[in-house]
């Protein structure tokens, strides 16, 4: 722990800018104590204050008749019918996952789970959106292996099924992987718990694990870029204990079934500081904490360390005084710490005592209100001109084979086979079975569809399209199962906002998300921003990540039995819904086959998305569709191949329309398209015409080869082998250093 005097130097080392430190001095009217400086620095960190992003986030659509709680709570809450609510959010744990992949990813999962059960919901599903470096980079395997083990280790032990997600590889993530974890929970609408504290004199109660020295200043670390010293920051990474979190989940839900809880907040980033400050600020009350009563794992901890510790699996609650003993008994039953650590006051201040000394005494109003907000400068973003379609160097069959065998097109089964996707007994579509995961709502015939998506290479070329397209693809993935998309959560991963070009990426992406959300009645109900995702090399050069405005979406199925998957049935016809102009710019084919990341990404058309999607959903609900898959990375041929591989069935495709080169037709990534497998092709075509929806015949299902007249004739079995070959080869490749096996993660 530092013994340096509190001054501007120390403030800088805590991540405060000089003018921010000036504001602190003005608020306090004196030099702050070490603990006070620590509190200001974490509350005003980018991670906690959203100081660079807040102005822009305000522009997002957040309302709809089915939104119960939008952004501002621990998670978003939406009405899913029958008096029930879905509670969900996505959150990043990027920086810790690079420094220590296993614990970084594990505690990311733990954190997002707490955000959801803090609100009174039982978590029913986890998803994760992962971006890793180039597979040939020396560090990528370590990160992939650790992150996957960490996610599995935590989620599996918690008994929450990990049902979906996505994975990308790109060299811009070599030293800055992205780990975004999403949890969806279900609660009764009349039993949602919020964080605003109330009732002067009411006890403030600490439950869960003991506080240690782990994770101190984690929020500050997450608000700075990486450099070659980053691995020395390992002590700022928290260590997870999923077993304790499982106990905390059950104890909290048991307590929430009583009327003891007035408000509750998990201790995530900035631990006790942010939970206490948020609860008191939101409730418009003051809070007194006596750290002598905080359960401690280590001896001689200083107030500064306790206030900034990010030890996991902890909650802060305000209880009804007459229910305190009842609550204590529940936590004792679950063998968790339970301690009254303070009370609410009418002082409007946070006052922290330790060993009889006041270590911090800060007015809450200014701490919140005078938090810095930046309207950071941007520069106009240079968009790329449309791509002139290049010639096909290898043919469609070879091209398809290479896409399916490449890191970004390969089967993710190696990953999801390490995640328990069935625990809970409600999983209707496991990973790979449908465009979205589908989980039944226990005790009903309803289902929730959920998915995450983002295509960073589109956003790199045009951040507005990057933001909008992520929303559209999520909405499409929900629609392709037959679900009605309800709302989304966003996890905005960008490099430094202090770079005007990066800030422009951010602003444009948020505009794109907002426009798409408004056009589709698909509001944002929760989210998270992760900035400074860049790496400073020893030579001073900076590598920024490709921007990743990741969207997580939730939709509802009134009757889960009507949902469809993507596996091709044994017979029937394939139809294409949507128009193909032949947009190859920024396509997967261009990148993987020609090694080029060029051109404008596919254009977005909100009206066409809505019209085509509404049509597809209606046809699924009518029972006219056997299987459905949206067209995304790799274009039409990859979509068809994925359906064929999932169903282990072949099909005979018809050639594309005259006027488009064959490879452009099959590999283009035009948006708003779906492939349907149906036994009622004529009726579906007729209905499409009536609805003004473009539809065309793709081919006939049957046999065991994927055939395209004179161009391609490849067995589905062969494609499956290609598709499954990447991960085992990547992870199994020989190296001097054998993969690290973590003793605590497997059982």
């Amino acid at each position: 722990m530092t013994t340096a005097p509190v001054d501007i130097e120390l403030a800088r080392s805590f991540g405060l800018k000089d003018d921010e430190y000036e504001t602190v001095l003005n608020i306090m009217g004196r030099t702050p104590s070490l603990t006070e400086l620590g509190i200001f620095s974490v509350m005003w960190s980018e991670h906690c204050s959203y100081k660079s992003s807040r102005l822009h986030l305000k522009t997002l659509p957040t309302k709809a008749p089915w939104v119960i709680h939008g952004p501002g709570e621990n998670a978003g809450v939406i009405d899913i019918g029958e008096g029930l609510a879905a509670v969900f959010k996505m959150e990043s744990h990027n920086h810790p996952s690079f420094i220590e992949p296993y614990q970084g990813a594990a505690t990311g999962v733990g954190g997002i789970l707490r955000d959801v059960f803090t609100m009174g919901a039982r978590p029913i599903a986890n998803l994760n959106a992962l971006r890793f470096g180039d597979p040939t980079h020396k560090d990528t395997k370590r990160v992939v292996d650790g992150v996957v083990r960490g996610i599995g280790g935590y989620g599996n032990c918690m008994g929450v099924p990990t049902v979906g997600g996505e994975v990308n590889f790109h060299s811009s993530y070599n030293c800055n992987p992205l780990v975004n974890a999403m949890t969806v929970g279900i609660a009764r609408q009349d039993r949602i718990f919020l964080s605003a504290a109330a009732g002067v004199g009411n006890p403030v109660v600490y439950v869960g694990s003991k506080t240690g020295r782990d994770g101190i200043h984690g929020a500050t670390m997450s608000s700075a870029e990486f450099d070659s010293e980053s691995s020395s920051k390992r002590p700022t990474v928290q260590v997870g204990d999923p077993f304790t979190e499982k106990l905390l989940l059950e104890a909290c839900l048991e307590l929430m079934a009583t009327d003891a809880v007035i408000s509750i907040q998990d201790m995530g980033a900035a631990g006790l500081t942010s939970s206490a400050v948020e609860m008191a600020s939101k409730g418009g009350v003051g809070i007194d904490l006596d750290l002598d009563h905080v359960p401690q794992r280590e001896a001689n901890m200083h107030a500064y360390e306790m206030m900034l510790s990010e030890s996991q699996e902890r909650m802060l609650m305000v209880l009804r005084p007459d229910r305190t003993e009842e609550a204590r008994k529940i936590f004792e039953k679950w063998e968790l710490d339970f301690a009254i650590v303070g009370k609410l006051t009418d002082s409007g201040r946070i006052t922290v005592r330790h060993n009889g000394t006041v270590e911090a005494d800060i007015p809450l109003g200014p701490l919140a209100d005078e938090a810095p907000i930046y309207d950071r400068p941007t520069v106009p973003y240079e968009r790329q001109p449309a791509l002139v379609p290049p010639a096909d160097p290898c043919g469609i069959e070879k091209g398809l084979s290479r896409l399916l065998a490449g890191a970004n097109g390969a089967s993710r089964a190696w990953i999801w086979n390490q995640y328990d996707s069935g625990v809970g007994g409600q999983t209707v579509q496991r990973p790979g079975g449908a465009d979205s995961a589908i989980v039944r709502v226990e005790g009903t015939n309803r289902g929730l569809a959920m998915t995450t998506d983002c295509t960073p290479r589109y956003g790199q070329a045009d951040p507005y399209i990057g933001g909008a397209q992520a929303v559209l693809e999520v909405w499409r993935n929900l629609t392709a199962t037959g679900a009605k998309p309800l709302a989304m959560t966003d996890n905005l991963n960008f490099a430094s906002p202090e770079n005007p070009r990066i800030m422009a990426q951010f602003v444009e992406a948020v505009k794109g998300i907002g426009d798409a959300g408004r056009a589709l009645d698909f509001p944002v109900v929760s989210g998270n921003v992760s900035l400074y995702n860049e790496t400073r090399g020893d030579d001073g050069s900076v590598t920024a990540i490709q921007p990743a405005p990741v969207i997580g979406g939730v939709g509802v199925l009134d009757d889960v039995r009507k949902a469809v998957g993507l596996a091709m049935p044994q017979d029937g016809e394939l139809l294409l819904v949507g128009e193909t102009k032949g947009e190859l710019g920024q396509s997967m084919w261009l990148k993987e086959i020609l090694g080029r990341e060029e051109g404008a990404p596919p254009s977005v058309d909100f009206a066409a998305e809505r019209r085509n999607g509404d049509f597809v959903r209606e046809q699924i609900q009518h029972g006219a569709v056997e299987a459905c898959h949206d067209v995304a990375d790799g274009g039409l041929i990859v979509a068809v191949a994925e359906m064929a591989m999932a169903g282990n069935t072949g099909c005979v495709l018809e050639k594309g329309p005259a006027g488009l080169p064959e490879h452009v037709y099959w590999f283009a990534e035009d948006q708003a398209r779906y492939v349907l497998a149906t036994n009622q092709a004529d009726a579906v075509m007729k209905a499409a015409k009536a609805a003004g929806v473009p539809v065309s015949r793709l081919g006939r299902i049957g046999g065991d080869v994927l055939a395209l007249d004179g161009v391609m004739n490849v067995s589905v079995q062969h494609l499956r082998q290609q598709h499954g070959s990447f991960f085992p080869r990547f992870i199994g490749q020989e190296e001097d250093d054998a993969p690290v096996v973590h003793l605590d993660e497997i059982s």
């Binding site: 083990r149 599995g152 280790g153 599996n156 032990c157 918690m158 008994g159 204990d241 999923p242 077993f243 304790t244 499982k246 106990l247 679950w334 063998e335 089964a413 999801w416 086979n417 390490q418 995640y419 328990d420 996707s421 069935g422 625990v423 809970g424 007994g425 409600q426 999983t427 209707v428 496991r430 039944r440 226990e442 889960v560 039995r561 096996v741 605590d744 993660e745 497997i746 059982s747």
Partner: protein, 232 residues
């Protein structure tokens, strides 16, 4: 039939198990907290999957010493029926109510995927819902499922028809050394075993997760219908 499901701190498949019993019987089983030491009046006790006590130390090791396991042991000694699935199987071996032990999976990774099982056990309510030699699909979800026992014990289990289930291909072929078939590397592909009196059964995969068409199939249902028919 009265069924009790034991809940340890860290148990996480008790709801799945309860749901499977509800599907076949229409009745919800009773949940039993690990600290209770009375299991009177029950016909069947189920130890479900999960990570009891975090599976710290060894999977199932601490749960095996909890108060309720003394009661479960007495219950079994009096001829009571006990089913342990996944972590429940691990607990039963740690409590020495079933022979052998579950080691870390051969590939050193958590395995969550479907496997196929061949029904081999005889004269047991836990296999009576199938015909001898039937093959069914079941999800597995474990890190420590690699069954092992001393060779003479393995011989004895086989000789006495106490190997309840064996990992196999979809066509019913047992391939001990094929990592795609015997995925966790179990000795002689053993996925489940029976006690001497055939009233205690442990298995690693999760038939309880395949008991409704909407959840992916009903391959697991015979486990529960067999129990129901026997115990009423």
């Amino acid at each position: 039939m009265k069924t009790g499901i034991v809940v340890f701190p860290g148990t996480n498949r008790e709801r799945d198990m309860a749901q499977a019993f509800r599907v076949v019987s229409g009745k919800a089983p009773q949940m039993l907290w690990h600290q209770q030491d009375n299991v009177d009046g029950l016909d069947l006790i189920v130890l479900p999957g999960g990570f009891s006590f975090g599976d710290y130390l060894r999977s199932g090791a601490m749960a095996a010493h909890s108060p309720i396991m003394q009661a479960v042991r007495r219950f079994a000694e009096k001829g009571g029926y006990v089913l342990g699935v996944c972590n429940g199987f691990q607990i039963l071996t740690e409590a020495q109510m079933l022979p052998g032990a579950l080691l870390r999976n051969a590939g050193m990774r958590f395995l969550s995927q479907d496997c196929h099982l061949k029904v081999e056990g005889r004269d047991s309510i836990f296999t009576s819902g199938w015909k001898h030699g039937d093959v069914f699909r079941a999800p597995m979800a474990h890190g420590d499922g690699n069954y092992t026992a001393a060779p003479d014990m393995l011989d004895r289990l086989e000789g006495e028809g106490r190997v309840a289930f064996r990992y196999c291909t979809a066509e019913g072929h047992v391939k001990d050394s094929d990592e795609h078939v015997n995925m966790n590397g179990s000795a002689r592909s053993i996925a489940g075993v029976l006690s001497e009196n055939r009233r205690v059964c442990g298995l690693m995969p999760h038939p309880e997760n395949l008991t409704e068409e909407i959840l992916g199939g009903t391959d697991g249902l015979p486990l529960f219908t067999g129990i129901m028919e026997a115990l009423g």
